[in-house]
Symmetry: C3
Amino acid sequence: MTGTTTAARSAHPARAFIDTNLRGAGQVMFMNNPITGALILLAVVWGAIAARMPQVAIGAVVGLIAGTLTAMALRVDTASLRQGLYGFSPLLTGAAVPTFLDNTPLMWTYLIIGAATTTVVTLALTTVFNTWRVPALTFPFVLTSWFLMLAAYQFRKVSISSLAQPMLPKPVSGDRLDMSAADLATSMLKGVAQVFLIDNWVSGLIILVALAVNSRWAAALAAVGTIVATLLAAGLGADATSVTAGLYGFSAVLTAVALGCVFYHPTWPVLLYALLGTVFTVFVQAALNTALAPIGIPSFTAPFVFATWLFLLPKRDLTPIPHHRHIDDGVIAGTHPKA
Amino acid sequence: MTGTTTAARSAHPARAFIDTNLRGAGQVMFMNNPITGALILLAVVWGAIAARMPQVAIGAVVGLIAGTLTAMALRVDTASLRQGLYGFSPLLTGAAVPTFLDNTPLMWTYLIIGAATTTVVTLALTTVFNTWRVPALTFPFVLTSWFLMLAAYQFRKVSISSLAQPMLPKPVSGDRLDMSAADLATSMLKGVAQVFLIDNWVSGLIILVALAVNSRWAAALAAVGTIVATLLAAGLGADATSVTAGLYGFSAVLTAVALGCVFYHPTWPVLLYALLGTVFTVFVQAALNTALAPIGIPSFTAPFVFATWLFLLPKRDLTPIPHHRHIDDGVIAGTHPKA
Amino acid sequence: MTGTTTAARSAHPARAFIDTNLRGAGQVMFMNNPITGALILLAVVWGAIAARMPQVAIGAVVGLIAGTLTAMALRVDTASLRQGLYGFSPLLTGAAVPTFLDNTPLMWTYLIIGAATTTVVTLALTTVFNTWRVPALTFPFVLTSWFLMLAAYQFRKVSISSLAQPMLPKPVSGDRLDMSAADLATSMLKGVAQVFLIDNWVSGLIILVALAVNSRWAAALAAVGTIVATLLAAGLGADATSVTAGLYGFSAVLTAVALGCVFYHPTWPVLLYALLGTVFTVFVQAALNTALAPIGIPSFTAPFVFATWLFLLPKRDLTPIPHHRHIDDGVIAGTHPKA
């Protein structure tokens, strides 16, 4: 059966290319599964259209394809490519650029150069982090998109639509957050969707289903991640607008899934460790909100990346699993390309 | 005799735990010696009470214990644990949190999560820096505490008591510093105490004694470090308030001891090299004061860490000594946990 | 012949010392050639005198010599030393300090300590980056000079002459850039000279000649680099003052040469890859202009360093050449000192 599939893939390069890209979409959430990827793209399209920002969905797809094509041009190893490991960061760059910059022809050129560069940066950071056998995660997207956003301030023809105005940080003040249970649930689902810069709870729900298709553990941990992060941020008195938009949730979702079932087996000690990592992700999220305020760029998924690196590097004996092995009820493959 | 001691330790886990934690206090200054550690804790208690901030001393002890317990839960290697190498960074996190945040029950939860995370970060950074066989030094404390301080700006219920207000840097102006010899000596002693965020010259004196108990070289180099740094900062026209509070001294103290007698043998070339490193630490201190001004956080011991890394990494033939060997008149052990 | 030369060098330490330093000047542009170095120094002298800032040229030479002497004192490997690999970063530190700080006796002390430290930092960063077999490039200069500039804000007696005032970034606005072909050509030549912080088109021309003496590929790529960067920055609507002063050109020049003919052989795929790297360098330049605005320091050659690292680390099969091999019509040696 596997043999047949492989043969079929070889025989149909177009089908293989589509499969590769769908897996790329799934790999944003560590899922090496084209159906998960397709559902995730559906969630992005839904959210983008609902927000009257179709360019965000188009950008995500264009970024994904540009990144994958760049990887092919650079002759990366085929196994990693086919698992979608060169698609997920460019997809996010492609979603970020039209979210924050005006929809002009020049923006699309900027996006494509950015997505191609994201693939180069993926290869570069993979070389660096392989030294300690941890993956580069979504940091190629974060780093490249930080450069692209910061640079936009200096180019009159690349105009900014919605970056926060640079300002000195102030301690948060203002009203207590007063949310109903329904509001809370909506915020938590938005937290899942915000992984893809989508502010829509239906999209969040679709993404949870997409995860469950491949791994029930991943879906459960994503849900726990956004619940913990949203309650914690609300409980500590974080800015109400950010909490309700799910902006404290998305990095925590990724940390919970990564630490809880992707890079370790989900045992009780691991789950406790992943919980500490998820709590710390919320602190890092808040910290980056402060640190980046003077330069007017969002933290993207950096809180997830920093917290997950710090919790993966200790390599404690919490029954880690090799990245290339399958776990659970799904086929969660490793997320770091082979060198 | 060693055998008996080891047996005694095994027989009395409570005593071993206390010994471990006292060594942890000593290791902030690279001293693997429980008496040094006890005297250092005395200095911290003295300074905290004198400043009517007992929570700083309590926080230091709580952080030390929480960090050590976390290390035990993560089953780190026993030899490093028993040398106190998992205690010193959480101790500093525990002193920093109540120094800058209001004394509320929530602050204590924040502190304990912070101290536990500091241990995880110690393991992570040790993995990274072992690549070049240099220790992580106090950077786990610095990094974790930066996150905690920056995050506090975003949480209404974690209120800030004394962080500097974020502002754009300006060239220092104002009056010439006019200090008597006695003022200078006081400032220099405060420089030693500020390693532990303590603004008290008596505490500085106690810490010098604590060092001398274990290593006369360490005590002498600490004294030279604070003298050089204070005179240099005053001579270059640094802000008078910072100089008199010893804020230019503490990182220089650590660099002088680290380069002068901990990681190298104190020969003349080494002492000259350590002097250049100490001078550079003062520049890095001033640089970070500027760079961190817009985000309102202190540099902590980062100037020591950055300067010492840069001066250790060249691994010149200045008679370096292996970290696990004893030197001098004391038992200065290496400060980087075994991977 | 080579044997005779070597013998001659051994016999005349003063001549060898001068040769070493001239190669150091050449290595800023990756040229292991004393004539190239001499012409570059001529260009710096010309530009400094034209700007009535002779201290910049004197500083460059003093920094070069101080850095080389420090390397000799630290007994670095002779082969790397003789290729000038310990001279180029201190030379740049020596040019930067009098460009931005007032010309006082204290400034010269500051410069010499800075240049000596740059050599220590060169050794440190070489140790780190050897892990991935990429060179430290000019980052020792960048890092040390960032510290020196930031520190100057805190020292009343080290007064700043021309650093940009710290401010929050704003999107660039203002008039369209309206340049004649002659203006454009002048700006592009200034872009080459700005590698050495020189704002003079004649100096740029001399440097192109200096490159051609050693490698026609390097000269051609430097020209292409500044043309692409200047046109791109102007086309995207960057600040007119920066574009005309060549400030978008200098890092791109270095990236184009480094990726196009120093670390890879100049084949078509390599040239395309180098072009993407050069474009990305312009984005990083703009990004750092934004990110560094609140702390009032220039980006120096950091855009070149970051972009070149990211494009070297992937180590794609684009016919890379070993750093110690000669290429092309010249003798372009590797730029990373042997560990």
